[in-house]
Chain length 457, copies 2
Amino acid sequence: MSKSRRDLQIHKTYEALFALEDLREVFRQSLPTGLDKEQENSISETLARLKGIIGDLERGEGRLNENKIGRLEPRTREEEFINIHPIQAAGRLTPEARKAMISYGDGYSACDFCRKPFRLDKISRPPIEEFHQELARFVNMDEARVVPGARRGFQAVTQSILKSGDSVIVSSLAHYTEFLAVEVAGGVVKEVDLDENNLITAEATAQKIEEVREETGTLPALVMIDHFDYQFANEHDVYEIARVAHEYGVPILYNGAYTVGIKPVDGKKIGADFIVGSGHKSMASAAPSGLLATTDEWAPIVFKTTQMTGDLTKRRFGIKEVQNMGCTLMGATLLSMMASFPRVKERTGQWEEEVRKSNYLLEQFLRVEGSRVQSEWPRKHTLSKVDTSDSFDLVAKKHKRRGFFFSDELKERGIVGEFAGATRTWKLNSYGLTWDQIRHTAESFLDIAAKYGLNVA
Amino acid sequence: MSKSRRDLQIHKTYEALFALEDLREVFRQSLPTGLDKEQENSISETLARLKGIIGDLERGEGRLNENKIGRLEPRTREEEFINIHPIQAAGRLTPEARKAMISYGDGYSACDFCRKPFRLDKISRPPIEEFHQELARFVNMDEARVVPGARRGFQAVTQSILKSGDSVIVSSLAHYTEFLAVEVAGGVVKEVDLDENNLITAEATAQKIEEVREETGTLPALVMIDHFDYQFANEHDVYEIARVAHEYGVPILYNGAYTVGIKPVDGKKIGADFIVGSGHKSMASAAPSGLLATTDEWAPIVFKTTQMTGDLTKRRFGIKEVQNMGCTLMGATLLSMMASFPRVKERTGQWEEEVRKSNYLLEQFLRVEGSRVQSEWPRKHTLSKVDTSDSFDLVAKKHKRRGFFFSDELKERGIVGEFAGATRTWKLNSYGLTWDQIRHTAESFLDIAAKYGLNVA
């Protein structure tokens, strides 16, 4: 099967999906008692078109039709290419999530059977309440809520527990959203230094806590630590860091944006007061989505319900949670999380295999002389930072397309997702690729190197 | 075409969509160089299944297959039924949005071509930057951002401009998310009284501002007013209210959750400092989504960029906006907004016709003796609150199914979305229904009334 045959089939698959959406719209415009003549004709015409598309798909032949959605190009990167984008890998939807998005795309689609007490996490049909209980168990915490992205989880915590001017201990590799979560709550970030291996240690955390106490006269209000950071995806010793934080009586937020949904996370074992995860980063879900889980001790604080009373009407709004702004993900985003969840739970059990693939890929990559892995080695994660200043960048310096030569060559081999044009330091993520795709990607690195005369060991 | 034939066709449409997603998954697992034997077989088998489904669809015959997504039932309410749910009507996706959800469902799907300065609203492919400019023009304001729901727009404003203890003027019909937005920012709501027609007037607003000044010694920090409230969907005189607020030098937030996306909204004409809209409520978009627009005067305050510096690394995170927590809608939610937008813009021009349909439907409804419309009359909106205590509730009192008799009867006629079991006061929304669907709904009300011996004028 030639590449162009496959690409055509992919485009025909989209054409067929879109034709079915046109069909679906006819039903939406029709009466429950049945279709009128014009609608029947519309169905017949669309079915005829659909059968043509499916014939093309089957033969792998046919005209590539304009298939735009207004001015939007359909996105076919995940089908046409192997995508090694650093933040997209584990947020790719499962087939189940895609089906859920088709079924539950409409605005407030989660609210068909919303009854007293009128809160998203209490809805039993679809089984949203049960899902929340499962989410809590999944990370071994007492309570969980879905939130519009990990950042909104951080924010709910900081705004619940910080007073103005409070310090929050973060990593020197902290993600910008952690900075913002502290800033929006009126706090100040205090960064823990890295050791020589770009790791945050419990000792360095303790030292920073001491420094803050000395400098400000009070303990920091929170320690917020990434299990794996976004820069190198190095593993930081969250277990010991949590222990140290608790020795000082400081609560700890475990940032699981790069773990929850891809590797097992046990909040109780970690000793975390808060676990935050990202749906669109690591739980095969649509953006923005994520989770915030906590303990029975902290739940009444971070999930505090509204106390505001209308001065005139004396209205109160029951059990709506202030920091979550009431309901959070009322439709497709939540349903994508729910639909992916069985597979997401299952895949955390395959983490070691994912790490093996990551190491294999980078071992091959390192055969290109001058290439380096900046992340800790061997890899404990599928996201890695690499340095090709002394390999592919040497080519880029002389190539008329500069660093884009590398993107061009990768794309020609069906690989996308590296930062286009970057040939010094860049990141890649192999999460979820099959062994065949891993091998193809590895061979492509070596092949490009050989083509441009770089030494391959 | 019988009802069951139509229902079968609807289910077959979903079956076909799901089969195509299975097909799509094979491409995702394959190599860019082509499919292997097993994948080829999988494609062939899925295509054979798909052709069977389409045959069934065409003939309107066949077995109704189990079509669940794990434990999730596909949601077919919008296809099988006429949905008069009060908050779902204008959040139903357009076909374009559904196609965009199919194409852009994966997590960070908006980020393929994210380049410096690394902010969602600066991305040009897909044309997200252009879309933001169009959004601002759409509501005639200077700047706009997408946000995860109107509530997050309120929150960005209150947290930007309130000091602890500040008062915010809201309507006595204010939505709970406005209460929460004030509460989360440490403010206090002060409700404007309703007049005898359940309307907020400029005079009453001025009076409340005076009261607050007298009581607290300072002016309120903000006036937050719903153009149409969520209870009655009565129209409140936002133009005069904005004028009065400005006379006192108090900024005004226009809550357009029930207007932006369905009727023309002109922020400059209103004199609004902030316009908030809801994607999943009124812009045919997936949840959570919405917009916050403001003026050049307020943009630097509400869209303030991060000032936080890492104490150790001296890191700064550029132009990330604090109250938006950086990027907001990085995938399907945003793309659904963008895909629906051309049709959403266009449909605001048909608002008068939507209001005519609403009035027609309720005129018919009022023919059932004892039925009342609690919202202002004639209707200026498609959402309405009705009172059937002296009509359908009389039946419910004697019926073994109680209020559910009404839901049963409506459902039998292909209508859903009223609050199941409620036969005293309840709400309905006719937005987006065709005239045929409106007439069918009206006839159903009369038909049910007649069946149970209620007088019909």
